[in-house]
Symmetry: C2
Subunit: 389 residues, 2 copies
């Protein structure tokens, strides 16, 4: 809920926002961008699911024979410290003057860390958890990010997650990790299978809902969050049901981008607390984990019945807040989202999740919720999630 | 109308957006900003209507005795080339390391030109009409702008208007003329008289409507334009009727800021073509001129009946587009806006306005309208305006 001051208005700050474009010709636009900056050696960090040969040949053709390319995609799953270190070494060996990230949230998080650290001469580990300040953007190499999923909003955010050597999650954080330019090109997300479109799209929608309604929300964040809710509610079913609907894909890329801006301004909330905790226990897609956690926690959150929640519900098409959980479940049904944790969770139960939920790294998201979830509340949410498995 | 490509989506670009804050303590925030950048010599360009002694003493108290201030406010009306040159000289004589602008659109346009040119060693005239490139922002002195009116959105825009020696309007244009930080502080606009609150507020609303519906509109601009329409329609009557309503003042400052972002992305339209032409003929407040021109041209524009216009009308509270002109007139009545050109226009008529309307500088705004206004259309609009005088 927005904190209205004694004088009747609520202070807030909105930092500088990087440039983005909606384009059907992203590699040509990336080529223009690098060419204007005299970048002749480009390091491409691409999602492993992409066709390396095709990406290389198309990028070479867009950038011209003068530009020297090196493509890295030797990683899988969420970014690990060792993978990011290896990517950074590859970029340095290539003497990269610019970084192009193409992929989902993991690939873009890695690409953003690489471009931020490239000119420092130091190891990635030196910048985890803000151990040292990153160089300002104008001291970094120019960078362009092209998302292939519409969900995490990594291309608009200054938050980058990676798994540390001890298995804990670590963050490389800061506005200066954002790219110079994000290119939202629906051709790159049109090949995403229906279930991944649904899971990633739910992540964007939940980013937007949490940013629009949590303890730290403000009108500056709501500008982006509200449009992201509107766009996702209208476009996500079409994007799932009609894979080649480029208008729906574009709207979801915009929703994801705007939702990323919103959480950058005022964080996520309790659904992301549960979702990040689940991922620590066993492998699960971030979008699916978040969607399951959101459905389980929504009635608890809505008990706060704030003006911001009623406004978000209206954008969801429900005038009555009490109807929102039902509307959400019908929406997830329509997207074909099967409830239930993956098989890898069979060995675990709510008691295994609790220590993670109470760990330090999860508390900021727990505390962002308008209603503070007690340990009993968390145990109830965890139990509901494991009942679904 | 958004140009939907053959593939069903519309490309657009949104450049980097500068930082802004809503704050009740803007001088302290400005002090923090300059202090972080080791700025010890601040040039203040303040609106002549402000109390110079009070501004100086409050700023000095916020920034501390170590900071050397120089305040300039020797100008009146819209910025003239000679005034900007004189302000630039004063800033150079002060050896200014930072620029703080406080005022309405004219003061902020001047402050933005001064901060952009300060380190170039060259005259303002060298940068009018993009004769030479301005230095990039990181090569300029740090700058903060505090608007005292909620209308022009100068604090968010890269457009700066000044009158040239021959009386023609000139522009100093470019994203690099934007400030590093805009501070939206309702205390600074709370003293604005009702009629100026109404006129400037209408300017913001019309910026938003034109950006949301003109030939160049796109979803990126509409994000800002739509919120600006929502905010103005809801808050402007309260700001006019309750001068000390800081919540309404804040919402209007936000509306003005967002509307400035929107026209930065996709220009204004026909009402601004007429308004700028009127100001060339005789002195008239820009907000009043724009409001009168908007009311006269709206039915013509709405004949295009685009989806974007219907959407903007909904935000105005009218489901039927044909009801919008009536709703606008009632809105202007409620704001107490008297229709009619100032007495200085008594010597002129539509025939005097026509050559200005057909001059080169007006054509970009004329062409931005979805329906191209013929000479006969323009003559009809001009005649309607002069009938009101």
């Amino acid at each position: 809920m927005a904190k209205t001051g004694q004088e009747g208005f609520s202070p807030f700050a909105v930092g500088q926002l990087p440039a983005f474009e909606v384009t059907g010709d992203s590699l040509a636009r990336a080529a223009d961008f690098f060419s204007q900056r005299q970048v002749r050696r480009v390091f491409i960090l691409a999602d492993p699911f992409l066709d390396k040969t095709l990406i290389l040949s198309r990028t070479q053709s867009a950038m011209g024979a003068d530009v020297s390319l090196s493509l890295y995609s030797e990683f899988s799953g969420e970014p690990k410290l060792a993978s990011v270190q290896s990517a950074l070494n590859a970029a340095r060996q290539h003497k990269a003057e610019g970084v192009l990230g193409i992929g989902g949230g993991s690939a873009l998080d890695m690409a953003k860390i690489v471009k931020s650290c490239l000119r420092t001469g130091r190891d990635v580990a030196d910048f985890v958890m803000q151990r040292n300040p990153l160089p300002p953007m104008d001291a970094q190499v120019p960078s362009v990010m092209i998302p292939t999923t519409a969900g995490t909003g990594s291309e608009s955010s200054g938050t980058n997650i990676l798994a540390l050597e001890n298995g804990n999650k670590g963050w490389v954080w800061g506005a200066e990790t954002r790219p110079d330019l994000a290119l939202l090109d629906p051709h790159f997300s049109a090949s995403l299978p229906a279930h991944l479109t649904a899971w990633t799209g739910m992540d964007a929608l939940i980013h937007a809902f949490e940013a629009a309604t949590n303890r730290y929300t403000h009108k500056g964040a709501q500008l982006y969050a509200h449009d992201a809710i509107r766009l996702s509610v209208a476009a996500l079913p079409d994007a799932v049901e009609q894979p080649d609907n480029l208008a729906a894909r574009t709207d979801m890329l915009l929703a994801s981008y705007y939702a990323g801006c919103a959480i950058n301004l005022c964080s996520t909330s309790i659904a992301h607390a549960l979702s990040h905790a689940l991922a620590r226990l066993a492998p699960i897609h971030h979008g699916l984990a978040t969607a399951l956690a959101f459905e389980v926690t929504l009635p608890f959150v809505l008990a706060a019945n704030t003006a911001e929640m009623r406004q978000a519900a209206m954008l969801f098409g429900v005038p009555e807040l009490t109807d929102l959980p039902g509307q959400l479940s019908r929406f997830m049904d329509r997207l074909g989202i099967e409830r239930g944790l993956p098989a890898a969770f069979a060995a675990f139960d709510a008691d295994d999740l609790m220590p993670i939920l109470l760990s330090e790294e999860i508390q900021p998201m727990r505390e962002a919720c308008v209603i503070y979830a007690s340990e009993a509340d968390l145990y109830r949410f965890a139990s509901r999630l494991f009942e679904q498995k």
